[in-house]
């Protein structure tokens, strides 16, 4: 069982070419583990404060608590395991998505029913099917990872540094040579950019040179 911890501060970037960062990370600290996992993210254009995902039939939501020095502090809480009660969908999930909850005909929903009968028919909702291969490290007492991420079948890479102590994250960022003005991009924002729910960064073409 996962150990309880305080909400962590996080810095994350996405891109196709993270080879140099991976090389630097590999030189600084050993790779500890590699995990594969599949997740389903629920996205709406208007929601920027809640990261809503389903993994292994369990839904959890991370809430953006605060932003400081370019870092984001996310506080996770468990919504529950499917089948999920309609009441929970109505009072927890849809408020987090920031859209009106549709009329529900069942008392509870399996994951399949939830996706087919509620999510897929809602024009304001998008679903990202995400496969991750996550390589874990510890850098400067920060949980650090490089991951290959398939978003609806398309590849993007990500690097993340997180810790309860924001100073340690900032120091780890420096150790990796990441510029202080590099945009911090969380999972929902990255997914929304790929799926056209959020604008690409202004220097999009340039940044992919």
């Amino acid at each position: 069982m996962a150990q309880e911890s305080n909400p962590r501060f996080e810095f994350r970037i996405f891109g196709i070419n993270l080879e140099k960062l991976t090389e630097t990370l590999d030189k600084l600290t050993p790779r500890l583990q590699t995990r594969k996992m599949n997740s389903i993210y629920l996205l709406t254009a208007g929601n920027t404060k809640n990261n809503i995902k389903i993994r292994d039939g369990i839904m959890d939501i991370k809430v953006l608590e605060q932003e400081t020095e370019g870092l984001e502090q996310w506080n996770p809480f468990l919504v529950g395991e499917f089948p999920l009660k309609s009441d929970v969908i109505k009072t927890v999930v849809f408020p987090a998505l920031g859209i009106v909850c549709p009329v529900m005909e069942r008392d509870q929903y399996t994951l399949d029913q939830f996706l087919k009968e509620i999510i897929s028919i809602d024009p304001d909702l998008s679903v990202a099917f995400v496969k991750k291969v996550r390589h874990g490290y510890m850098l400067n007492n920060c949980i650090t990872e490089i991951a290959e991420v398939l978003v609806n079948g398309a590849l993007i890479n990500t690097l993340c540094i997180e810790s309860e102590d924001p100073k340690q994250v900032l120091a780890a960022k420096k150790m990796l040579g990441i510029r202080s003005d590099t945009e911090n991009v969380n999972y929902p924002l990255a997914l929304k950019r790929i799926m056209g729910l959020a604008s690409l960064s202004k220097n999009y073409w340039e940044s992919n040179d």
Partner: protein, 213 residues
């Protein structure tokens, strides 16, 4: 009747096409490179940046903008799983509202937005698209490697859809049998034919189907 000799980059009668998208086509790309006849240097490697306009309600018109020029192709027919597309419209920005009303938006098969200007720049057109509930402008970058196998124009490509990478392989020709032989030679039998429009829709979540691998 002798078949038309295809020349890469040249205008020919409408071609049939097999194309697919996925995360990995190393074997097909290797076979393509080994089976290809020499091709002109200009098609060895090409890079382009494009904007596709996708519509929730349309799967038969493919709209693409490259270097300020719009190109709409329309689906004609499918023969043995191969698709034939014909040019429907070509235009350039700035574009007259009249053309947008009569030719462009009808191709999207969506509710017509209100147009208040006589002429639209590309940026103004994209703003209309971004404000339309059923339309999306999708940034696509392509790194294409051209080949010629069994008299069919082939390519292996890295394609970034809004920044996320997929791979694509294709074979196109006016001759259906030549493409079918190429599909066999590239070991792509039983791989789904997925055109650009469908691949983009799948990646951006407008369609929940998966890519080929």
């Amino acid at each position: 009747m002798s078949k038309e000799q295809l020349e890469i980059g040249a205008i020919s009668k409408p071609r049939f096409e097999f194309r697919t998208f996925g995360k990995e086509f190393d074997e097909a790309a290797f076979l393509m490179s080994r089976l290809s006849v020499p091709v002109p240097e200009k098609v060895w490697e090409r890079y382009s940046e494009e904007i596709y306009i996708v519509s929730k309600t349309n799967d038969i018109n493919n709209t693409k903008i490259r270097d300020g020029k719009m190109d709409i192709k329309t689906f004609i027919q499918s023969v043995d799983g191969l698709e034939q597309w014909n040019p429907l419209m070509k235009g350039e920005f700035p574009m007259k509202a009249e053309i947008l009303v009569k030719e462009v938006f009808p191709a999207f098969m969506v509710e017509m937005p209100e147009l208040t200007k006589e002429v639209y720049t590309l940026e103004e057109f994209l703003e209309i698209i971004n404000n339309h509930r059923d339309l999306q402008a999708v940034r696509v970058e392509k790194e294409r490697y051209g080949y010629m196998v069994n008299d069919t124009i082939c390519e292996y490509a890295n394609v970034w859809i809004n920044g996320a990478l997929v791979e694509s392989v294709n074979s196109e020709s006016t001759e259906v049998e030549d493409i079918k032989k190429t599909i066999t030679d590239l070991k792509l039998e039983n791989v789904e034919n997925i055109n650009y429009l469908q691949a983009i829709k799948r990646v951006i979540g407008m369609n929940n189907k998966k890519l080929a691998n």
